[in-house]
């Protein structure tokens, strides 16, 4: 039996009150409830406050470059696809620097579970606007306020037929846990955008701001209808829906990759002598 103790990691270097603390707590609980052993899965992260996540629980971890979480996770998943591969990223990390990889990870439907700690700000670098920052928000590097329309990651994901699209909120722990578990259970690529208050730099999107707006998507919502999902994904402002926005059962990339269908790549032992024999016959093709 796994217990929370088994997941003890380094002491978080986040600010007191940061939404990341709740996410970490709930995440560990979800893992325990799913009875996942620490050594059996991997968390890939980038650089940012969110990027530090895997250090704070006991797990296999690849804390890579800013923005490059998904390619690394894809490489791992393709190599060892019976292993649970989780990606944790910041909003700048994933929607800014790494935007291109998100698009293509969704296209592949690689079985990686992506959790974006979306604080609508660059936290670690001290408060610049992120792609999800609200229009008009002034920062030290946006002297005229943010001039671009914020990126809506959920609409983007629905548009690209992402196979699992959800929004959760760090301040709603029970619901967050439910979403984390669902995302992990989902076969294909899952994108969970977690609203995460940054108490230090984001003075607009505070706990209070979110609290006033978030609501659980109504019962009977058809998360399999892409048009309904698109409409729901656009809701933002006075009312912010939490829940599974969209879901489908497209085949995953690893299921479609013939050479790993039968066995994970990493389990396919390399028999040097045997391969040399086959190379010998391949060389025959060159005569």
């Amino acid at each position: 039996m796994v217990t929370l103790e088994d997941y003890k990691g380094q002491t978080p270097a986040w600010c007191p009150g940061c939404g990341n603390h709740s996410i970490l707590k709930v995440f560990k609980e979800a893992l325990v409830e799913l009875a996942i052993e620490p050594g059996t899965f991997v968390i890939v992260s980038g650089i940012g406050q969110a990027g530090k996540f895997p250090h704070y629980l006991r797990c296999n971890a690849f804390n890579g470059l800013h923005g490059r979480t998904l390619p690394v996770a894809t490489g791992i998943k393709l190599s060892s696809h019976d292993m649970l591969v989780i990606a944790v990223a910041g909003d700048g990390d994933c929607y800014g620097e790494g935007g291109n990889h998100l698009i293509h990870a969704i296209r592949r439907n690689i079985g990686v579970k992506l959790f974006v700690h979306d604080n609508q700000i660059y936290g670690l670098t001290k408060g610049q606007a992120s792609p999800t920052s609200i229009e008009g928000m002034k920062t030290k590097t946006q002297p005229f306020g943010v001039l671009s329309e914020p990126l809506n990651p959920l609409s983007l994901a629905v548009a690209l037929d992402c196979s699992f699209v959800a929004r959760a909120y760090a301040g709603d722990q029970e619901h967050l846990k439910f979403i984390i578990k669902e995302a992990i259970r989902h076969r294909g690529f899952s994108l969970v955008d977690i609203l995460q208050p940054c108490v230090t730099f984001n003075k607009v999107n505070t706990y209070g701001w979110y609290q006033k707006r978030v609501y659980h998507i109504e019962e009977g919502y058809n998360e399999r209808d892409r048009f309904v999902a698109f409409e729901k994904s656009l809701e933002w402002g006075e009312k912010i829906p939490l829940g599974i926005i969209y879901r489908n059962e497209r085949p995953t990339f690893e299921e479609r990759m013939p050479v790993i269908k039968d066995r994970p790549l990493i389990e396919q032992e390399f028999d040097f002598e045997e391969v040399k024999k086959r190379i010998d016959s391949t060389l025959g093709e060159f005569y």
């Binding site: 050594g39 804390n63 690394v72 060892s80 013939p258």
Partner: protein, 572 residues
């Protein structure tokens, strides 16, 4: 017998089919072949050529002088007539070129007409041309029958017969009409292997346990991706075309972290995009092999031409300081073995290893009797399975030689943590200076001397105590070798060729002695700023006084290089 056949024409006219086919015929008949290609960055039109040299002895470069020019368009005659040797013949189809040449060194072969007569399509005109070439040299072409069968086997008997008929028509027409043809074919011998460097790298990688190749297409590195793709099913390799080069290297690093030997390949601009990932490999000590096929730059440059100007980029790619190894094979054979060594060193020392080639090498084919598979090495450096890895496993444990045991994540109770931040032995972020210092020492200083010891000295070829030493690296191997062979008839001369380019080997005495006692040393490079000569100077203090550079995107050709070398020798 040492003939050069040049096929010229527009992109899309089938130059490559003709060139590939006749090279295959020659090599299978046991001749030695060397081919090289010259083409534009377009898919149809323009001016391309394919040059095939065949001989009964080893040939490793292209010559300036052409013996048979197959001109598929007027432009080919205009550009290449002057390259014709005294006995040379230009083969062309007057009716399709709509121009007739009455000079004696022209042979009009009605490619189109003969192919139509054989019941064929325009593609079969190329078969007629192939027939004409073989006919002129006096090759009957039984070998061709089987080659046609192998490549077109699935297209049905009728097509097959048409092709062979077209071939025969061309052959017989040329035999009958080329009265001036003085070519002869040496007796054929044991079939040779005809291979290019991208195939050799792919094979070397597969033989080294590489199971994951991801790349973004870029000339001239795409050949490696093609080769891996073609063998993916047979060898069970995951091959993925990434969305960009940044993704390619990060995916490959992910796979390598997960325990799979992986590789990526690219060219100039794509390599630039991988530079941050290379630094990540350096920090996380994840083994990775990167093929860098050079082409003339900066920026997009001349995408289908050749250059050797990315040595310094490869040497310093990635911010910060970490060890790396750079190989620059001189031919497919070296590429095969060096790729194997690349995987071995990369996994042994947990470092990035680069294999530098270029367009010239990528688009050349060479013949060999075969490769010696027993010369390959495979050592599994990974810790595997629960039983051997303790629960207290530390990914970056301090060790004597700086190399920490490398375990596979997800296979036990232990965990494998890697971090792009500076980290402690367990892989967790640190801030203190002392751990930083220890990690720099582990990662860099401790490993370096061991890595240096692995490097082979450069190859000294020719005179053992040469007066003249011609120095080269990478793709100039074949041409310098032949030039030295030729010049050795009158001079005490040798080639010093570096295929293991960095780090410089420890025991440099051997070749340094040759350099120091030589009366003349010359460095030949396909770039404008003498990158290798500068590296040699920085590493050994030896200043090569004479440099021969070419930076117009074209390779050196044999007679040209000999002439330039002779010029310098003459001034001795």
């Amino acid at each position: 017998m040492d003939y050069t056949i040049k096929i010229g024409g527009e992109a899309g006219q089938g130059i490559q089919t003709i060139g590939d086919t006749i090279s295959k015929v020659f090599s299978r008949m046991g001749y030695h072949v060397f081919t090289h290609q010259d083409y534009e960055s377009r898919v149809r039109g323009g001016h391309n050529f394919y040059q095939v040299r065949l001989s009964e002895t080893m040939v490793t470069s292209s010559r300036t002088q052409v013996d048979i020019l197959v001109a598929l368009d007027k432009e080919s005659i205009k550009r290449h007539e002057r390259e014709l040797g005294p006995e040379g013949i230009i083969v062309y189809d007057a009716s399709s070129l709509k121009e007739r040449h009455d000079k004696p060194h022209f042979l009009d072969v009605p490619f189109n007409e003969l192919s139509l007569k054989a019941g064929g399509s325009p593609i079969m005109a190329n078969m007629v041309a192939i027939g004409a070439i073989l006919g002129m040299i006096g090759i009957n072409g039984d070998v061709l029958h089987s080659i046609i069968k192998e490549t077109m086997g699935n297209k049905g008997e009728a097509i097959l017969k048409q092709n062979i008929d077209a071939f025969i028509a061309g052959r017989d027409y040329a035999k009958a009409n080329c009265l001036r043809c003085s070519f002869f074919s040496a007796p054929s011998s044991k079939p040779k292997m005809l291979i290019d460097v991208n195939e050799a790298i792919g094979l070397g990688a597969i033989a080294s346990g590489c199971k994951f190749y991801t790349a973004y297409p870029m000339t001239p590195s795409t050949g490696i991706l093609n080769f891996f793709s073609s063998k993916a099913e047979e060898y069970g390799i995951v091959v993925e075309q990434a969305e960009d080069e940044i993704s390619a290297i990060n995916m490959a690093l992910g796979a390598s972290y997960a325990g799979v030997r992986s590789m990526t390949g690219t060219s100039g601009g794509g390599f630039c995009l991988m530079v941050e990932g290379i630094s990540l490999a350096g920090m996380t000590e994840i083994p990775i092999v990167v093929a860098l096929a050079q082409r003339p730059a900066p920026a997009t440059g001349l995408p289908t031409r050749t250059e050797q100007a990315d040595l310094f980029l490869a040497l310093h790619a990635g911010h910060g300081e970490f060890p790396r190894v750079i190989f620059a094979p001189g031919d497919p054979e070296q590429a095969f073995y060096l790729t194997n060594k690349a995987f071995d060193l990369s996994n042994k020392y947990q470092i990035p290893v680069f294999i530098l080639t270029d367009q010239y090498l990528s688009d050349s084919r060479w013949t060999y009797l075969g490769f010696d598979l027993d010369a390959l090495t495979y050592r599994a450096y990974r810790l595997k399975g629960d039983e051997r890895v303790p629960e207290t496993y530390k990914r970056f444990a301090y060790t004597e030689d700086g190399v920490s045991p490398l375990a596979i994540p997800g296979k036990g109770k232990y965990i494998v943590v890697v971090d792009s931040d500076e980290h402690d032995e367990e892989g967790h972020i640190i801030e203190d200076g002392e751990t930083r210092r220890l990690m720099v020492e582990k990662r860099l200083f401790k490993k370096l001397p061991f890595i240096k010891k692995e490097m082979e000295s450069p190859r000294l070829y020719g005179s053992e105590r040469p007066d003249i030493v011609v120095i080269g690296w990478g793709s100039t191997y074949g041409i310098i070798k032949e030039a030295v062979d030729e010049l050795a008839k009158r001079h005490s001369i040798a080639m010093l060729h570096f295929s293991e380019v960095y780090p410089f080997p420890y025991y440099t005495e051997g070749f340094m002695e040759a350099l120091k006692r030589a009366k003349l040393t010359i460095c030949v490079e396909q770039n404008g700023t003498n990158q290798f000569a500068r590296l040699l100077k920085a590493e050994t203090g030896f200043d090569i006084p004479v440099k021969i550079n070419r930076y117009d995107g074209r390779p050196f050709l044999l007679e040209e290089l000999i002439e330039v070398l002779n010029g310098h020798i003459g001034r001795l």
